[in-house]
Protein backbone atom coordinates (compact mmCIF):
# COMPACT_ATOMS: atom_id res chain seq x y z
CA UNK A 1 0.00 0.00 0.00
CA UNK A 2 1.35 3.40 -0.94
CA UNK A 3 0.94 5.95 1.82
CA UNK A 4 0.91 9.69 1.16
CA UNK A 5 3.77 11.86 2.34
CA UNK A 6 1.56 13.37 5.03
CA UNK A 7 0.51 9.99 6.41
CA UNK A 8 4.13 8.91 6.52
CA UNK A 9 5.12 12.14 8.28
CA UNK A 10 2.47 11.73 11.00
CA UNK A 11 3.30 8.05 11.32
CA UNK A 12 7.03 8.65 11.68
CA UNK A 13 6.60 11.75 13.89
CA UNK A 14 3.24 11.51 15.58
CA UNK A 15 2.19 14.76 17.27
CA UNK A 16 0.83 14.95 20.79
CA UNK A 17 1.25 11.34 21.79
CA UNK A 18 0.39 10.76 25.43
CA UNK A 19 -2.35 10.99 28.00
CA UNK A 20 -3.93 13.36 30.49
CA UNK A 21 -5.38 12.26 33.77
CA UNK A 22 -8.83 11.03 32.89
CA UNK A 23 -10.24 12.22 36.16
CA UNK A 24 -9.17 15.85 35.72
CA UNK A 25 -12.09 18.18 35.52
CA UNK A 26 -10.97 19.87 32.30
CA UNK A 27 -10.27 16.63 30.43
CA UNK A 28 -12.60 14.89 28.02
CA UNK A 29 -11.66 11.37 26.90
CA UNK A 30 -12.96 9.56 23.85
CA UNK A 31 -12.09 5.98 23.04
CA UNK A 32 -13.50 4.53 19.86
CA UNK A 33 -13.00 1.43 17.75
CA UNK A 34 -12.28 -2.12 18.81
CA UNK A 35 -9.20 -4.32 18.75
CA UNK A 36 -11.00 -6.91 16.67
CA UNK A 37 -11.60 -4.29 13.97
CA UNK A 38 -7.92 -3.40 13.94
CA UNK A 39 -8.27 0.17 15.24
CA UNK A 40 -8.66 1.69 18.70
CA UNK A 41 -8.25 5.45 19.09
CA UNK A 42 -8.05 7.27 22.39
CA UNK A 43 -8.34 11.04 22.05
CA UNK A 44 -8.20 13.41 25.02
CA UNK A 45 -8.90 17.11 25.07
CA UNK A 46 -8.05 19.59 27.81
CA UNK A 47 -10.56 22.40 27.89
CA UNK A 48 -9.83 25.78 29.45
CA UNK A 49 -12.14 27.88 31.60
CA UNK A 50 -13.03 29.88 28.48
CA UNK A 51 -14.34 26.76 26.76
CA UNK A 52 -11.43 26.61 24.35
CA UNK A 53 -9.52 23.35 23.79
CA UNK A 54 -6.05 24.13 25.14
CA UNK A 55 -4.36 20.86 24.48
CA UNK A 56 -4.99 17.40 23.06
CA UNK A 57 -3.31 14.00 23.33
CA UNK A 58 -3.84 10.68 21.58
CA UNK A 59 -2.89 7.06 21.56
CA UNK A 60 -3.85 4.80 18.71
CA UNK A 61 -3.70 1.11 18.01
CA UNK A 62 -4.13 0.84 14.28
CA UNK A 63 -2.62 1.13 10.85
CA UNK A 64 -0.52 4.04 9.62
CA UNK A 65 -3.60 5.91 8.40
CA UNK A 66 -5.33 5.54 11.75
CA UNK A 67 -2.28 6.84 13.57
CA UNK A 68 -1.97 9.76 11.14
CA UNK A 69 -5.68 10.62 11.35
CA UNK A 70 -5.62 10.80 15.14
CA UNK A 71 -2.32 12.66 15.21
CA UNK A 72 -3.75 15.19 12.77
CA UNK A 73 -6.92 15.86 14.76
CA UNK A 74 -4.96 16.56 17.94
CA UNK A 75 -3.41 19.45 16.01
CA UNK A 76 -6.68 20.59 14.54
CA UNK A 77 -8.78 20.65 17.71
CA UNK A 78 -6.33 22.82 19.63
CA UNK A 79 -7.59 26.41 19.94
CA UNK A 80 -11.10 25.48 18.91
CA UNK A 81 -14.28 25.69 20.96
CA UNK A 82 -16.10 22.43 21.55
CA UNK A 83 -18.66 23.30 18.89
CA UNK A 84 -15.96 24.22 16.41
CA UNK A 85 -14.20 20.93 17.15
CA UNK A 86 -17.41 19.07 16.42
CA UNK A 87 -17.45 20.64 12.98
CA UNK A 88 -14.31 18.77 11.93
CA UNK A 89 -15.53 16.31 9.36
CA UNK A 90 -13.93 13.05 8.29
CA UNK A 91 -13.89 14.22 4.68
CA UNK A 92 -11.54 17.05 5.63
CA UNK A 93 -9.23 14.61 7.43
CA UNK A 94 -9.27 12.19 4.50
CA UNK A 95 -8.55 15.00 2.09
CA UNK A 96 -5.72 16.45 4.13
CA UNK A 97 -4.02 13.06 4.41
CA UNK A 98 -4.95 11.91 0.88
CA UNK A 99 -6.35 8.67 2.27
CA UNK A 100 -7.20 5.97 -0.28
CA UNK A 101 -10.80 4.68 -0.31
CA UNK A 102 -9.95 1.60 1.77
CA UNK A 103 -8.66 3.87 4.54
CA UNK A 104 -11.59 6.31 4.77
CA UNK A 105 -12.81 4.47 7.87
CA UNK A 106 -9.73 5.79 9.72
CA UNK A 107 -10.88 9.36 9.19
CA UNK A 108 -14.41 8.46 10.30
CA UNK A 109 -12.98 6.94 13.44
CA UNK A 110 -10.98 10.12 14.13
CA UNK A 111 -14.14 12.22 13.76
CA UNK A 112 -15.93 9.84 16.13
CA UNK A 113 -13.08 10.19 18.61
CA UNK A 114 -13.54 13.97 18.70
CA UNK A 115 -17.26 13.56 19.26
CA UNK A 116 -16.67 11.03 22.04
CA UNK A 117 -14.11 13.24 23.79
CA UNK A 118 -16.38 16.30 23.61
CA UNK A 119 -19.34 14.27 24.85
CA UNK A 120 -17.30 12.94 27.78
CA UNK A 121 -16.27 16.48 28.72
CA UNK A 122 -19.86 17.74 28.45
CA UNK A 123 -21.14 14.85 30.56
CA UNK A 124 -18.69 15.76 33.32
CA UNK A 125 -19.86 19.36 33.32
CA UNK A 126 -23.60 18.83 33.07
CA UNK A 127 -23.77 16.39 35.95
Amino acid sequence: MAYSEKVLDHYENPRNVGAFKKEDDGVGTGMVGAPACGDVMKLQIKVGKDGIIEDAKFKTYGCGSAIASSSLVTEWVKGKTLDQALEIKNTAIAEELALPPVKIHCSILAEDAIKAAVEDYKKKHNS
Partner: protein, 403 residues
Protein backbone atom coordinates in the same frame (compact mmCIF):
# COMPACT_ATOMS: atom_id res chain seq x y z
CA UNK B 1 27.73 -4.50 5.02
CA UNK B 2 24.02 -5.10 5.38
CA UNK B 3 21.91 -5.00 2.26
CA UNK B 4 18.41 -3.64 2.77
CA UNK B 5 15.75 -4.77 3.01
CA UNK B 6 17.12 -7.83 4.77
CA UNK B 7 15.51 -10.89 3.27
CA UNK B 8 13.92 -13.14 5.89
CA UNK B 9 11.18 -14.60 3.75
CA UNK B 10 12.79 -17.82 2.51
CA UNK B 11 9.51 -19.72 2.77
CA UNK B 12 7.92 -17.38 0.22
CA UNK B 13 10.72 -18.02 -2.23
CA UNK B 14 14.49 -18.36 -2.28
CA UNK B 15 17.10 -16.85 -4.54
CA UNK B 16 18.55 -19.29 -7.05
CA UNK B 17 21.81 -20.61 -5.65
CA UNK B 18 24.68 -19.31 -7.85
CA UNK B 19 25.81 -22.91 -8.39
CA UNK B 20 22.33 -23.75 -9.64
CA UNK B 21 22.29 -20.72 -11.93
CA UNK B 22 25.65 -21.71 -13.34
CA UNK B 23 24.36 -25.16 -14.19
CA UNK B 24 21.29 -23.66 -15.88
CA UNK B 25 23.03 -21.08 -18.06
CA UNK B 26 24.29 -23.49 -20.77
CA UNK B 27 20.69 -24.59 -21.30
CA UNK B 28 19.78 -20.96 -21.87
CA UNK B 29 22.53 -20.65 -24.45
CA UNK B 30 23.88 -23.35 -26.73
CA UNK B 31 22.07 -26.38 -25.24
CA UNK B 32 18.62 -25.13 -26.07
CA UNK B 33 16.99 -28.20 -27.63
CA UNK B 34 13.49 -29.44 -27.02
CA UNK B 35 13.85 -32.68 -25.01
CA UNK B 36 11.03 -34.16 -27.08
CA UNK B 37 13.00 -33.76 -30.32
CA UNK B 38 14.04 -37.31 -31.10
CA UNK B 39 15.80 -36.64 -34.36
CA UNK B 40 18.90 -34.68 -33.42
CA UNK B 41 21.61 -34.09 -30.84
CA UNK B 42 20.00 -30.86 -29.57
CA UNK B 43 17.02 -32.88 -28.42
CA UNK B 44 19.02 -35.80 -27.03
CA UNK B 45 21.29 -33.53 -25.03
CA UNK B 46 18.29 -31.85 -23.49
CA UNK B 47 16.62 -35.16 -22.77
CA UNK B 48 19.74 -36.50 -21.08
CA UNK B 49 19.91 -33.41 -18.86
CA UNK B 50 16.24 -33.83 -17.96
CA UNK B 51 16.80 -37.46 -16.97
CA UNK B 52 19.86 -36.64 -14.87
CA UNK B 53 17.85 -34.01 -13.03
CA UNK B 54 15.08 -36.53 -12.48
CA UNK B 55 17.65 -38.76 -10.76
CA UNK B 56 18.79 -35.92 -8.52
CA UNK B 57 15.26 -35.06 -7.49
CA UNK B 58 14.47 -38.72 -6.82
CA UNK B 59 17.67 -39.16 -4.81
CA UNK B 60 16.80 -36.40 -2.33
CA UNK B 61 13.55 -38.10 -1.40
CA UNK B 62 14.46 -41.78 -1.70
CA UNK B 63 12.36 -42.37 -4.80
CA UNK B 64 12.92 -44.08 -8.13
CA UNK B 65 13.46 -41.57 -10.98
CA UNK B 66 10.57 -43.21 -12.82
CA UNK B 67 8.31 -42.05 -10.02
CA UNK B 68 9.03 -38.36 -10.68
CA UNK B 69 6.77 -36.33 -13.00
CA UNK B 70 7.73 -32.77 -13.93
CA UNK B 71 5.15 -30.03 -13.46
CA UNK B 72 5.21 -26.24 -13.46
CA UNK B 73 5.37 -26.12 -9.66
CA UNK B 74 3.91 -27.39 -6.42
CA UNK B 75 0.54 -25.77 -7.05
CA UNK B 76 0.13 -27.75 -10.25
CA UNK B 77 1.48 -30.88 -8.55
CA UNK B 78 -1.11 -30.54 -5.79
CA UNK B 79 -3.88 -30.05 -8.34
CA UNK B 80 -2.74 -33.01 -10.42
CA UNK B 81 -2.30 -35.30 -7.42
CA UNK B 82 -5.57 -34.58 -5.69
CA UNK B 83 -7.86 -34.17 -8.70
CA UNK B 84 -6.05 -36.90 -10.62
CA UNK B 85 -6.37 -39.46 -7.82
CA UNK B 86 -9.86 -38.42 -6.74
CA UNK B 87 -11.14 -38.77 -10.29
CA UNK B 88 -9.33 -42.02 -10.99
CA UNK B 89 -10.53 -43.69 -7.81
CA UNK B 90 -13.95 -42.04 -7.62
CA UNK B 91 -15.53 -45.44 -8.23
CA UNK B 92 -14.30 -46.50 -4.77
CA UNK B 93 -15.70 -43.48 -2.97
CA UNK B 94 -15.98 -39.74 -2.99
CA UNK B 95 -14.71 -38.58 0.40
CA UNK B 96 -11.52 -36.57 0.88
CA UNK B 97 -9.82 -35.55 4.12
CA UNK B 98 -7.42 -32.66 4.49
CA UNK B 99 -6.37 -30.11 7.12
CA UNK B 100 -7.66 -26.59 7.68
CA UNK B 101 -4.05 -25.39 7.66
CA UNK B 102 -3.16 -26.70 4.19
CA UNK B 103 -1.91 -24.37 1.47
CA UNK B 104 -4.55 -22.77 -0.73
CA UNK B 105 -3.40 -24.94 -3.61
CA UNK B 106 -4.71 -27.95 -1.70
CA UNK B 107 -7.74 -26.32 -0.08
CA UNK B 108 -9.01 -24.75 -3.29
CA UNK B 109 -8.48 -27.99 -5.18
CA UNK B 110 -10.51 -29.92 -2.63
CA UNK B 111 -13.20 -27.24 -2.73
CA UNK B 112 -13.38 -27.62 -6.49
CA UNK B 113 -13.84 -31.36 -6.07
CA UNK B 114 -16.66 -30.65 -3.63
CA UNK B 115 -18.40 -28.68 -6.36
CA UNK B 116 -17.98 -31.72 -8.59
CA UNK B 117 -19.80 -33.92 -6.10
CA UNK B 118 -17.06 -35.08 -3.76
CA UNK B 119 -17.40 -34.67 0.01
CA UNK B 120 -14.61 -33.23 2.10
CA UNK B 121 -13.61 -33.10 5.74
CA UNK B 122 -11.34 -30.20 6.71
CA UNK B 123 -9.75 -31.33 9.97
CA UNK B 124 -8.95 -28.91 12.77
CA UNK B 125 -5.40 -28.97 14.07
CA UNK B 126 -4.28 -28.77 17.67
CA UNK B 127 -3.15 -25.49 19.21
CA UNK B 128 0.44 -26.37 18.30
CA UNK B 129 -0.55 -26.75 14.65
CA UNK B 130 -0.17 -30.52 14.53
CA UNK B 131 -2.87 -32.90 13.40
CA UNK B 132 -4.51 -35.03 16.06
CA UNK B 133 -4.08 -38.60 14.79
CA UNK B 134 -7.10 -39.81 16.74
CA UNK B 135 -9.23 -37.13 15.14
CA UNK B 136 -7.90 -38.15 11.75
CA UNK B 137 -8.73 -41.79 12.41
CA UNK B 138 -12.20 -40.81 13.47
CA UNK B 139 -12.74 -38.81 10.29
CA UNK B 140 -11.96 -41.73 7.99
CA UNK B 141 -15.05 -43.22 6.37
CA UNK B 142 -15.49 -46.34 4.28
CA UNK B 143 -15.74 -44.11 1.20
CA UNK B 144 -12.62 -42.03 1.94
CA UNK B 145 -10.39 -42.20 -1.15
CA UNK B 146 -7.77 -39.48 -0.67
CA UNK B 147 -6.11 -37.91 2.36
CA UNK B 148 -3.93 -34.87 1.77
CA UNK B 149 -1.69 -33.57 4.56
CA UNK B 150 1.20 -31.16 4.12
CA UNK B 151 4.65 -32.21 5.33
CA UNK B 152 5.61 -28.77 6.64
CA UNK B 153 3.26 -25.86 7.16
CA UNK B 154 4.27 -22.77 5.19
CA UNK B 155 3.31 -20.28 7.89
CA UNK B 156 4.25 -21.85 11.20
CA UNK B 157 6.72 -24.46 9.97
CA UNK B 158 5.35 -27.37 11.97
CA UNK B 159 6.18 -30.87 10.70
CA UNK B 160 3.20 -33.22 10.55
CA UNK B 161 3.52 -36.91 11.50
CA UNK B 162 3.66 -38.12 7.90
CA UNK B 163 5.01 -41.61 8.72
CA UNK B 164 2.14 -42.35 11.11
CA UNK B 165 -0.51 -41.00 8.73
CA UNK B 166 1.05 -43.09 5.96
CA UNK B 167 0.68 -46.28 7.98
CA UNK B 168 -2.93 -45.44 8.67
CA UNK B 169 -3.70 -44.73 5.01
CA UNK B 170 -1.97 -47.86 3.72
CA UNK B 171 -3.83 -49.99 6.24
CA UNK B 172 -7.14 -48.54 5.10
CA UNK B 173 -6.28 -48.52 1.38
CA UNK B 174 -6.56 -44.75 1.09
CA UNK B 175 -4.42 -42.74 -1.34
CA UNK B 176 -2.14 -40.47 0.69
CA UNK B 177 -0.93 -37.21 -0.84
CA UNK B 178 1.66 -34.99 0.84
CA UNK B 179 2.45 -31.41 -0.14
CA UNK B 180 6.19 -31.26 0.53
CA UNK B 181 6.83 -27.85 -1.06
CA UNK B 182 8.19 -26.50 2.23
CA UNK B 183 9.92 -29.67 3.33
CA UNK B 184 12.71 -30.39 0.84
CA UNK B 185 16.13 -29.56 2.22
CA UNK B 186 14.57 -28.95 5.64
CA UNK B 187 13.55 -32.41 6.81
CA UNK B 188 14.67 -35.89 5.80
CA UNK B 189 12.31 -37.45 3.31
CA UNK B 190 12.65 -41.14 2.49
CA UNK B 191 9.89 -42.38 0.27
CA UNK B 192 11.30 -45.89 0.35
CA UNK B 193 10.13 -45.94 3.98
CA UNK B 194 7.26 -43.46 4.13
CA UNK B 195 3.97 -44.91 2.99
CA UNK B 196 3.13 -41.92 0.87
CA UNK B 197 1.53 -42.39 -2.54
CA UNK B 198 1.83 -38.90 -4.00
CA UNK B 199 4.14 -36.07 -3.01
CA UNK B 200 4.39 -32.53 -4.41
CA UNK B 201 7.66 -30.65 -4.75
CA UNK B 202 8.69 -27.15 -5.70
CA UNK B 203 12.11 -25.93 -6.83
CA UNK B 204 11.89 -22.28 -5.84
CA UNK B 205 11.56 -22.94 -2.12
CA UNK B 206 14.84 -24.86 -2.19
CA UNK B 207 17.17 -22.46 -4.08
CA UNK B 208 16.01 -23.60 -7.50
CA UNK B 209 14.17 -21.61 -10.15
CA UNK B 210 10.48 -20.72 -10.20
CA UNK B 211 8.15 -22.36 -12.69
CA UNK B 212 9.25 -25.91 -12.06
CA UNK B 213 8.09 -28.59 -9.66
CA UNK B 214 7.51 -32.29 -9.55
CA UNK B 215 5.03 -34.86 -8.44
CA UNK B 216 6.11 -38.19 -6.99
CA UNK B 217 3.77 -40.96 -8.11
CA UNK B 218 4.39 -44.28 -6.37
CA UNK B 219 4.95 -47.34 -8.56
CA UNK B 220 4.88 -50.06 -5.89
CA UNK B 221 2.05 -50.36 -5.03
CA UNK B 222 1.12 -48.56 -8.19
CA UNK B 223 -0.88 -45.36 -7.92
CA UNK B 224 -2.92 -44.23 -10.91
CA UNK B 225 -3.93 -40.71 -11.84
CA UNK B 226 -6.14 -39.04 -14.37
CA UNK B 227 -4.06 -36.47 -16.29
CA UNK B 228 -5.08 -32.84 -15.98
CA UNK B 229 -3.04 -31.37 -18.84
CA UNK B 230 -3.52 -33.05 -22.19
CA UNK B 231 -1.50 -32.90 -25.37
CA UNK B 232 1.70 -34.39 -26.74
CA UNK B 233 1.77 -37.11 -24.08
CA UNK B 234 4.89 -35.96 -22.24
CA UNK B 235 5.69 -37.42 -18.82
CA UNK B 236 4.08 -40.79 -19.60
CA UNK B 237 0.88 -39.05 -20.55
CA UNK B 238 0.42 -37.56 -17.08
CA UNK B 239 1.51 -34.03 -17.94
CA UNK B 240 1.73 -32.73 -21.48
CA UNK B 241 3.71 -29.66 -22.42
CA UNK B 242 7.26 -28.95 -23.59
CA UNK B 243 9.71 -29.63 -20.76
CA UNK B 244 11.60 -26.54 -19.67
CA UNK B 245 15.09 -28.04 -19.74
CA UNK B 246 16.92 -25.20 -17.99
CA UNK B 247 14.41 -25.09 -15.17
CA UNK B 248 14.48 -28.85 -14.76
CA UNK B 249 18.28 -28.81 -14.69
CA UNK B 250 18.05 -26.09 -12.03
CA UNK B 251 15.67 -28.10 -9.90
CA UNK B 252 17.90 -31.16 -10.19
CA UNK B 253 20.99 -29.25 -9.10
CA UNK B 254 19.11 -27.48 -6.30
CA UNK B 255 17.88 -30.80 -4.93
CA UNK B 256 21.33 -32.36 -5.31
CA UNK B 257 22.85 -29.53 -3.28
CA UNK B 258 20.10 -29.90 -0.69
CA UNK B 259 20.92 -33.59 -0.32
CA UNK B 260 24.63 -32.96 0.10
CA UNK B 261 24.41 -29.91 2.32
CA UNK B 262 21.20 -30.03 4.30
CA UNK B 263 22.57 -31.50 7.52
CA UNK B 264 25.18 -28.82 7.90
CA UNK B 265 22.99 -26.03 6.62
CA UNK B 266 20.11 -26.85 8.94
CA UNK B 267 22.48 -26.76 11.89
CA UNK B 268 23.65 -23.25 10.98
CA UNK B 269 20.15 -22.01 10.18
CA UNK B 270 18.78 -23.43 13.43
CA UNK B 271 21.40 -21.53 15.40
CA UNK B 272 20.38 -18.30 13.68
CA UNK B 273 16.70 -19.00 14.30
CA UNK B 274 17.34 -19.72 17.98
CA UNK B 275 19.36 -16.52 18.25
CA UNK B 276 16.44 -14.61 16.75
CA UNK B 277 13.98 -16.28 19.08
CA UNK B 278 16.13 -15.49 22.11
CA UNK B 279 16.41 -11.87 21.04
CA UNK B 280 12.72 -11.40 20.37
CA UNK B 281 11.77 -13.17 23.58
CA UNK B 282 13.16 -10.20 25.48
CA UNK B 283 10.13 -8.27 24.21
CA UNK B 284 7.18 -8.61 26.58
CA UNK B 285 3.94 -10.23 25.50
CA UNK B 286 5.18 -12.11 22.47
CA UNK B 287 3.77 -15.48 21.50
CA UNK B 288 5.37 -18.11 19.31
CA UNK B 289 2.88 -19.68 16.91
CA UNK B 290 3.16 -23.40 16.32
CA UNK B 291 5.03 -26.21 17.99
CA UNK B 292 8.75 -25.51 18.55
CA UNK B 293 9.78 -29.14 18.71
CA UNK B 294 8.16 -30.53 15.56
CA UNK B 295 9.27 -27.65 13.45
CA UNK B 296 11.60 -26.91 10.56
CA UNK B 297 14.79 -25.20 11.69
CA UNK B 298 14.42 -22.00 9.66
CA UNK B 299 10.94 -20.83 10.69
CA UNK B 300 9.91 -18.50 13.49
CA UNK B 301 6.35 -17.25 13.60
CA UNK B 302 5.66 -14.89 16.41
CA UNK B 303 2.81 -12.60 17.46
CA UNK B 304 3.38 -9.27 19.19
CA UNK B 305 0.39 -8.37 21.36
CA UNK B 306 -1.05 -4.85 21.54
CA UNK B 307 0.42 -3.66 18.25
CA UNK B 308 -1.55 -3.59 15.06
CA UNK B 309 -0.35 -5.71 12.16
CA UNK B 310 -0.26 -3.21 9.34
CA UNK B 311 1.52 -0.53 11.34
CA UNK B 312 3.98 -3.21 12.43
CA UNK B 313 4.77 -4.11 8.83
CA UNK B 314 5.14 -0.43 8.05
CA UNK B 315 7.55 -0.04 10.95
CA UNK B 316 9.87 -2.81 9.86
CA UNK B 317 10.38 -1.92 6.22
CA UNK B 318 14.08 -2.64 6.58
CA UNK B 319 13.36 -6.35 6.70
CA UNK B 320 11.42 -8.40 4.15
CA UNK B 321 9.14 -10.78 6.01
CA UNK B 322 5.61 -12.15 5.71
CA UNK B 323 2.70 -11.34 7.92
CA UNK B 324 0.86 -14.39 6.62
CA UNK B 325 1.31 -16.73 3.68
CA UNK B 326 2.70 -14.94 0.63
CA UNK B 327 -0.22 -16.07 -1.43
CA UNK B 328 -2.86 -14.53 0.79
CA UNK B 329 -1.06 -11.45 2.03
CA UNK B 330 -2.63 -9.19 -0.59
CA UNK B 331 -5.87 -9.33 1.37
CA UNK B 332 -6.37 -8.01 4.88
CA UNK B 333 -7.87 -11.23 6.12
CA UNK B 334 -6.09 -12.60 9.15
CA UNK B 335 -4.15 -15.76 8.42
CA UNK B 336 -6.49 -18.75 8.37
CA UNK B 337 -3.63 -20.91 9.60
CA UNK B 338 -3.18 -18.90 12.79
CA UNK B 339 -6.94 -18.85 13.28
CA UNK B 340 -6.96 -22.64 13.02
CA UNK B 341 -4.33 -22.66 15.77
CA UNK B 342 -6.81 -20.76 17.92
CA UNK B 343 -5.18 -17.34 17.75
CA UNK B 344 -7.60 -14.41 17.88
CA UNK B 345 -7.69 -11.96 15.00
CA UNK B 346 -5.54 -9.34 16.76
CA UNK B 347 -2.73 -11.79 17.44
CA UNK B 348 -3.06 -13.24 13.96
CA UNK B 349 -2.78 -9.75 12.47
CA UNK B 350 0.26 -8.85 14.54
CA UNK B 351 2.16 -12.00 13.66
CA UNK B 352 5.37 -12.01 11.70
CA UNK B 353 6.81 -15.01 9.92
CA UNK B 354 10.59 -14.94 9.84
CA UNK B 355 12.12 -17.57 7.58
CA UNK B 356 15.87 -17.81 7.54
CA UNK B 357 17.96 -19.26 4.75
CA UNK B 358 21.23 -20.12 3.11
CA UNK B 359 22.38 -16.53 2.76
CA UNK B 360 21.25 -15.16 6.13
CA UNK B 361 24.02 -13.80 8.38
CA UNK B 362 24.40 -13.27 12.12
CA UNK B 363 24.59 -9.50 11.51
CA UNK B 364 21.22 -9.62 9.77
CA UNK B 365 19.67 -11.48 12.67
CA UNK B 366 21.12 -9.05 15.21
CA UNK B 367 19.90 -6.07 13.23
CA UNK B 368 16.44 -7.63 13.08
CA UNK B 369 16.31 -8.21 16.81
CA UNK B 370 17.31 -4.61 17.53
CA UNK B 371 14.83 -3.28 14.95
CA UNK B 372 11.92 -5.25 16.41
CA UNK B 373 12.78 -4.29 19.98
CA UNK B 374 12.84 -0.61 19.03
CA UNK B 375 9.77 -0.56 16.79
CA UNK B 376 7.55 -2.70 19.02
CA UNK B 377 8.48 -0.36 21.85
CA UNK B 378 7.53 2.67 19.81
CA UNK B 379 4.21 1.23 18.65
CA UNK B 380 3.29 0.18 22.15
CA UNK B 381 4.04 3.66 23.38
CA UNK B 382 1.40 4.75 20.91
CA UNK B 383 -1.04 1.99 21.80
CA UNK B 384 -3.95 2.63 24.18
CA UNK B 385 -4.30 -1.13 24.51
CA UNK B 386 -0.78 -1.44 25.87
CA UNK B 387 -1.61 1.20 28.53
CA UNK B 388 -4.71 -0.69 29.50
CA UNK B 389 -2.82 -3.96 29.68
CA UNK B 390 -0.22 -2.28 31.92
CA UNK B 391 -3.00 -0.94 34.12
CA UNK B 392 -4.26 -4.47 34.52
CA UNK B 393 -7.42 -4.03 32.47
CA UNK B 394 -8.74 -7.25 30.99
CA UNK B 395 -9.28 -6.24 27.38
CA UNK B 396 -11.75 -9.03 26.79
CA UNK B 397 -14.05 -7.57 29.44
CA UNK B 398 -14.08 -4.11 27.85
CA UNK B 399 -17.29 -3.08 26.14
CA UNK B 400 -15.92 -1.66 22.86
CA UNK B 401 -17.91 1.04 21.13
CA UNK B 402 -19.55 -0.41 18.05
CA UNK B 403 -17.87 0.74 14.89
Amino acid sequence: MLKFPIYLDYSATTPVDPRVAEKMIPYLTELFGNPASRSHAFGWTAEKAVEEAREDVAALVGADPKEIIWTSGATESNNLAIKGAAHFYSGKGKHIITLKTEHKAVLDTVRELERQGFEATYLDVQENGLVDLEALKAAIRPDTVVISVMFVNNEVGVVQPIAEIGELCREKGIIFHVDAAQATGKVDIDLSKLKVDLMSFSAHKTYGPKGIGALYVRRKPRVRLEAQMHGGGHERGLRSGTLATHQIVGMGEAFRLARVEMAEENQRVRELRDRLLAGLSTIEETFVNGDMEHRVPHNLNISFAYVEGESLIMAIKDIAVSSGSACTSASLEPSYVLRALGRNDELAHSSIRFTIGRFTTVEEIDFTIELLQRKIGKLRELSPLWDMFKEGVDLDSVQWAAH
